[in-house]
Symmetry: D2
Subunit: 83 residues, 4 copies
C-alpha cells in the first residue's frame, strides 16, 4: 500500500465517492493532529494521495511517518468496500 | 437498527473510538446536507444517537426520513468492525 | 456563553447554516480528541448544544471542562458572523 | 485571492493551525458535494491550495468554478483571524 520514494512514504487511497473519501480524510486528520504529525496530501474527488516525511528530521522518513502510515492503512482497511 | 417511536425514527450507532464515531458523523453530515434533510443527533464519545423526523410535515416520519435512515445504515455497515 | 447547572457546563451555539455548524463541530471534535476529553453534544440544523463534565471525576465540572469550554468559545468567536 | 492560470482557478489559504485549516476544508467539502463540483486540493499543515476547473468541460474554468471559488472565499473570510 505504501512505497518509499524521494525520502517520502507515498500512498494512494481510492473510494467510491467523494463523501467516503472525505470521511476517511477526517479520520486521518484527527489521527494526525493527535500525533502532532501532519501529512502532505492531495484529494481529487474519490482519490486521496498521501505523502509522509518528517520536517524536523530534514524531510526524511522516520518512525513517526511509519506509525502514521500504519494508522492510515488501518482506517482505510476498516472502511473500504471489499468485493 | 431503527425503531419508530414518538413519531421519530431512532437509531443508536456504536464505534470503538471517538475518531471513528466522528468520521461516521462527517459522512452522515455530508449526506444529510446533500439531501437538505438534517438529523437531530447526539454524540457522547463512541456513541451516536440519531432521531429522524420531518419538520415541514409536522414532525412526522416521512419517506425523506426513511431514505436518510437507509443511507446512514449503509455508512455504518460499510465501516464497522465486523467480528 | 456558558452556564454551570446540574454539575455540567452548558453552552448553546448558533450558526447561519448546517454547514457552518458542522465545520465548528469538526474543530471542536479535533480539539476534544487532542485533549482526550470529549463533550456530550447535540446538533439540530444550525444549533449545537454542548454539555461538559468529567466522567472520571464522578461527572463533576473540573478544570478539564473549563479548558475545553474556553477553546470551544474561541473557535466559536473566530468564525461567527458579527453584525 | 484567486488567479486564473493554466486553465485553472488557483487559490492558497493560510490558517494559524492544522485544526483551523481542516475545519475550513470540511466547510469547503460540504459545499462542493452539495454543488456536485469538487476541487483538486492539497493540504500541508496550515495551508490549503485549491485548484478549480471543470472536468466535463475539458478541464476549463467555467461558471461552476467561479461559483465554488466565491463560496470558498466567503468561508475563508468568515473565519480567518483579521489582525
Amino acid at each position: 500500500m505504501w512505497k518509499e520514494e524521494d525520502n517520502k512514504l507515498k500512498g494512494t487511497f481510492k473510494f467510491d465517492t467523494f463523501i467516503e473519501a472525505f470521511s476517511f480524510m477526517t479520520e486521518v486528520a484527527m489521527t494526525a493532529e493527535k500525533m502532532n504529525h501532519h501529512p502532505d496530501w492531495r484529494n481529487v474527488y474519490n482519490t486521496v494521495e498521501i505523502n509522509l516525511s518528517t520536517h524536523d528530521a530534514g524531510n526524511m522518513v522516520t518512525s513517526k511517518d511509519r506509525q502514521l502510515a500504519q494508522r492510515i492503512e488501518a482506517s482505510y482497511n476498516r472502511c473500504r468496500n471489499v468485493i
